[in-house]
């Protein structure tokens, strides 16, 4: 069994855990502290508020061990706030969090809640058909560094990227009925 963690400080934790529970060969693990990271083979950083999640990561001394595990190759996937937590650069913010993925992220890039939207798209390595893409006060990526692959653009904006063991998506597969992205993350 693969132990796949969900960073459980704040946000759509339960939604990710429920998706992982439906995948054969995966044991979902809720990660709230450094000691919970022991034995975790992959980690999802959920949607939520990146300022709140980032502050808790700092206050409970998880930045260094977590960034270390990611640099050592642990697969990690950030959805929405999770993308911001992974990024090396955040527009209009001097603070970065894990500082591991070579992307520049714009927060609340689409505007307020009235600008949240849902659409569909296909990422060939993830699924054969379209999957629903839910954007909630979402960020997008304005610049990528070397070695970062664009997985998906929507209306000319980069909304999914991969860099070696790291994946970041502006949208929330955990809020949809589709298991495709979680399956992909557990096996890539």
């Amino acid at each position: 069994m693969k132990r796949v963690g969900v960073l459980a400080l704040q946000g759509s934790v339960q939604e990710h855990m429920e998706k992982l529970e439906r995948i054969d060969g995966v044991t979902p693990v809720s990660v709230k502290s450094q000691k919970d990271l022991v034995g975790v083979e992959r980690l999802i950083i959920p949607g939520g508020e990146s300022t709140a999640i980032g502050k808790l990561l700092r206050d409970f001394d998880m930045i260094v061990p977590l960034a270390g595990m990611i640099r050592d190759g642990m697969p990690v996937w950030g959805t929405c706030a999770g993308m911001i937590i992974l990024a090396k650069r955040i527009e209009n913010s001097p603070t970065v969090h894990l500082n591991v993925m070579d992307i520049t992220v714009k927060r609340n890039a689409y505007g307020s809640q009235l600008d949240s939207f849902v659409t569909e798209g296909r990422i060939s390595e993830v699924s054969h058909s379209n999957i629903p893409l839910v954007f909630i006060r979402a960020p997008y990526i304005t610049r990528i560094g070397e070695g970062v692959d664009v997985m998906l653009e929507v209306d000319g904006k980069i909304v999914a990227t991969r860099q070696k063991n790291m994946i970041a998506t502006s949208f929330h597969p955990e809020l949809t009925d589709s298991l495709d992205f979680h399956r992909y993350f557990c096996s890539f």
Binding site: Q10, V13, E49, L56, R137
Partner: protein, 292 residues
């Protein structure tokens, strides 16, 4: 509309496990964000001051709400009076993230709440019991909070409301199907939402605790009782050290099951807000009784 409603419920899901703080100025909003709040509620007066000063409490000045909105990156919420759909139209026009149709303000309508399905913007509403929660959801609320008794610093009503909602859901879960319609009739709730609660053992939207939460232990208590997150009104900025208390309540909400962390964050917080005994309030002074 249906898709919009899903998106609005989804935003509430993103706030889960977090703390939403009442703020009356840009400075307070910035402190709240830095302390780890997941959203702020922009107000002219916190409930404790509304209670003390009396008079009609209305929607805040849109100018203040816009200033707060431009000062923080987290979602901004604001309150409208029960039934005051024009205040809601105004808040939708300035593009805030969530409206609280709140009993803390003086009701504008003594019979009817706002038809929230006619708005694109999401609403949160207060409830004391399951029937009230499901009526508000039936009207289009995409998030529920307990009413508690705002501005008292006394958690007893929030506990009562959360326990009531949870135990009423548990009762529905063990009912045979033929009893559900009568249960719906008795609690004054839409049948399809009663069915949902019976089948899923939860509300169809996120459910936060509010009204009287003043300490990290209060926040953790509400989380252990099964709520999804916490609203703190007067409890933070009416205390002697708001920044420290705000951070402590955020940590207590995440680590609500870890007594060692709770003990640690509860140390040396200074004076909490001065509390009120709810039994001593006159009936007209009870906000929780507003709402129909």
């Amino acid at each position: 509309m249906n898709q919009r409603y899903e998106l609005n419920k989804n935003l509430a899901q993103m706030l889960k496990g977090g703390v939403i703080m009442d703020v009356v100025s840009v400075d307070q909003a910035v402190i709240a964000e830095k302390s780890g709040a997941v959203a702020v509620m922009a107000l002219e007066r916190v409930p404790a001051d509304i209670r003390r000063q009396g008079g009609v409490a209305r929607m805040s000045d849109p100018g203040l709400i816009k200033e707060i909105k431009s000062a923080v990156s987290i979602p901004v919420m604001a309150k409208v009076r029960i039934g005051h759909f024009v205040e809601a139209q105004i808040l939708e026009a300035i593009g805030i993230d969530y409206i609280d149709e709140s009993e803390v303000l003086t009701p504008a309508d003594e019979m009817f709440h706002i038809d929230k399905t006619s708005f694109r913007i999401p609403f949160v509403c207060g409830a004391r019991n399951l029937g009230e929660a499901l009526r508000r959801i039936g009207e289009g609320a995409s998030m529920i909070r307990t009413k508690g008794e705002a501005g008292t610093g006394n958690v007893v009503e929030a506990v009562r409301h959360m326990r009531t909602i949870m135990s009423e859901i548990r009762r529905l879960q063990v009912m045979p199907r033929e009893e559900l319609m009568t249960a719906a009739k008795e609690m004054g709730a839409p049948y399809h939402l009663v069915e949902f609660a019976a089948e899923n053992g939860r509300l169809p939207v996120v459910n936060f605790a509010a009204g009287g939460i003043a300490t990290p232990a209060d926040a953790a208590l509400m989380m252990q009782l099964g709520c999804d997150g916490i609203f703190v009104g007067s409890g933070i900025f009416k205390s002697s050290n708001p920044e420290k208390r705000a951070q402590a309540i955020v940590k207590a909400t995440t680590y609500f099951n870890d007594p060692e962390i709770l003990a640690d964050v509860s140390e040396n917080l200074g004076e909490p807000m001065h509390g009120l005994e709810i039994d001593r309030l006159d009936k007209e002074e009870r906000f929780a009784d507003r709402g129909w």
